[in-house]
Subunit: 436 residues, 2 copies
């Protein structure tokens, strides 16, 4: 009886931890012979890109654990809906040919448990597979393992990947605050972080400190409609009190009519209509410069000093989701445990479920692992509750600190040689396909 | 007999190390009573923003050491030329009023040694001060302490700040390479790093590895004229052999006519003519997309696959110069030592000199600290020698590894509390001015 594990959706710094948890668990416990790895998620599995992870020695497994991003590759592939209205069984196989193909491969490999590590969309994939399996009477167990830097999966206290991305962003902003403060000239730094629909990553920056004070002056989340005039006013009010202002914005800020702020009319897109890099921060920086230059300051007496104010847009980019050097040990440990508990649940015969983390209400911080039906999580989004955001909608309330603080604790020591990390390369994956 | 130290120009991750070296040195050795810190460089000193660093206890000094960026603030202030053609002494004081003001303050504080930590422009400042001092017969000793992430200071093997910035960039690109490789879809990442005139930081990325291979496929330095058509060709040739291509470019790439590539005609600038964020990488990404879409591929047979190739521009931004988490211990140690040796030289009566590092020719890596006349360094730029760049001008030769490897060795352990760094805040500086 074998297992298959694959990764899907955007990478995180600790997503390999969940593969590691399944693999180490299978080695330690009875019941699983081989653990196969599907390359590039369900898309790669359909084309037979499958490798035998149980061939890896301990050193390779550890190197894999401490390598950032989806070591087995990823995909953004959406399975079609299951078609249950065929003329006969053969007809149904033709009409559901992708499912038929996948299940044929799973049976060829004698897969008893299929683990899929991903976010909302990936949970849709594993849900459909488990539904199809149930329908055709397959004994294969399907388990979803949560991961997303966006922290927007429903049914779990938080998601593996979030704590590390948050820690990267918080530390980067703390380093940036020191850079911003070196010149006497007034400045505004607008830092854009990931979060298309949920502002958990932007919210986390309430943790960032400059000395004993908050490093971030204003935080705008996609959960609340964004008003440009209020933003300009907020910044000018802050500049009245201090010389260096740091603003954090989620990439997915929307106006009250639901449109993305960054795709607002007048915002440039390139010759093919691609949205430019650094959408919302760059746009807001431009608007701020216009406001300062036109001296249409809503706060009196500031015009003179603001015309020379430096405005910098910073997009943290893909490093925020894949920096193992800034990973939280708590997060990595939980990623491993989500994989491991997924394996235990599968061995108990459980299927069609996603592993979730419950936070025990008592101190100290403790996580209880359990599972919920995947359909409860698939396709839903958990956003930042209004009651954690301040009244004006431009910062977090202090009690959000209780939520985020435990998630960023502990550092990860990266195996290194000559000052550089020993990450796993694609040598570990390519030319090792075992599909017959 | 007191000392004054100030920082100038762009911050680095380890620039506080040189202040620390002077301060610890003064505490350990005889001859210096107080070490004052000038806030915001020479500009702040002229307005009397001076604090007493010898009041700091050991804990505060250590916190300062491990805090990134110029903890004493910085400036980009250029002193006027010295006017030696006055009608009489009083007239000369009026005509050189900034110098007169500075020397009055230095005398008020009984400063015997003035240390200025900075790059090319800062060396110009300390050179002019030392010249003025010599002219008026002042006994004050002026010492320049090198620092720059650009590594372009003349007369020293390398500059404090460079190794840490290089290490940040190398590690970030290694993490990025893992992100770039997760999807099967072809991709090109164009990473823009600092370097307006010298490409040392871009060159350092030859160290970055993806598994056992080089992570960076193409490197373009400002030392060589940039050809867009050659660049497009180079990328397409790489894409023939591999799916994911990483290109590193210095921000200061220039065309053969000397113009900056990023300010090329047709490149967008905002409503006030500011150069847009992410100049050269964004520009090249656009050009690459145009090239892929128009199928004007210079290499046959690639057009089909390239039209869906993802092109991502990444600007590493200010984090590359101020990330203490990625600092090289060697670099921090050398920054401290440059400060410390500067103090020792000053105590020997030396003035008008800049501390430099000589690399001993023998293995293992060893640095010898000495000093050169500041005028040998001020205003000059050390660029990457042609013989270290490959023949086609799109990558480094392997022997450059021998230069860069020792500079990034060792990690720095950052004092932390609750998962976040304990950096010094401006509480340490503000409201502590001691000027009478």
């Amino acid at each position: 009886m074998n297992a298959l594990v694959a990764q899907s959706g955007g990478p995180t710094a600790v997503i390999n931890g969940s593969v590691f948890g399944i693999l180490e668990g299978a080695i330690m416990t009875e019941g699983i012979d081989k653990v196969y790895g599907g390359i590039n998620g369900i898309e790669g599995i359909m084309s037979g890109q499958i490798i035998d992870l149980t061939e890896w020695d301990g050193k390779k497994r550890t190197t894999f654990l401490y390598s950032p991003s989806s070591g087995l590759g990823s995909c953004r592939y959406k399975l079609p809906d299951i078609n249950r209205d065929g003329p006969d069984l053969d007809g149904l196989e033709v009409m559901n040919q992708e499912y038929h193909r996948i299940f044929t491969i799973l049976e060829d490999y004698e897969i008893a448990c299929f683990f899929y590590i991903g976010g909302n969309d990936s949970m849709d994939t594993i849900y459909k597979l488990s539904e199809y399996g149930r329908w055709i009477g397959s004994p294969i167990r399907f388990i979803g393992i949560p991961k997303t830097v966006d922290n927007d999966l429903y049914g779990t206290d938080h998601c593996p990947g979030y704590g590390s991305a948050a820690k990267y962003i918080i530390r980067s902003i703390m380093e940036m605050a020191h850079d911003a403060n070196v010149y006497p000239q007034k400045s505004v730094h607008i830092v854009e972080v990931m979060g298309r629909h949920a502002g958990w990553l932007a919210a986390a920056t309430v943790m960032a400190r400059y000395g004993t004070k908050r490093a971030v002056d204003l935080i705008y989340l996609p959960e609340l409609p964004f008003s440009l005039s209020r933003f300009l006013h907020d910044v000018e009010v802050k500049l009245k009190r201090k010389s260096h202002v740091i603003v954090v914005v989620s990439e997915g800020l929307r106006k009250s009519n639901g449109e993305f702020v960054a795709s607002e009319e007048g915002h440039e897109s390139d010759r093919f209509g691609y949205r430019k890099m650094g959408g919302v921060a760059t746009y807001l920086a431009q608007e701020l410069k216009v406001s300062f230059h036109q001296s249409k300051s809503q706060v009196n007496g500031l015009d003179q000093s603001l015309s020379s104010c430096k405005v910098v847009a910073v997009e943290l980019g893909i490093l925020q989701r894949g920096s193992i050097y800034h990973a939280s040990r708590t997060d990595l440990y939980e990623a491993v445990n989500c994989g491991y508990h997924g394996l235990l649940f599968a061995l108990q015969g459980i299927s069609g479920q996603m592993v979730v983390m419950d936070r025990e209400p008592d101190q100290p911080y403790h996580i209880h692992y359990r599972h919920i039906p995947i359909e409860e999580a698939a396709g839903k989004e958990k956003t930042v509750p209004r009651e954690l955001i301040n009244q004006r909608g431009n910062h977090m309330k202090e009690n959000f600190l209780d939520y985020i603080r435990p998630l960023i604790q502990g550092n990860v020591e990266i195996p290194e040689k000559e000052g550089l990390p020993l990450f796993i390369g694609d040598e570990a994956l390519n030319n090792h396909y075992v599909y017959k």
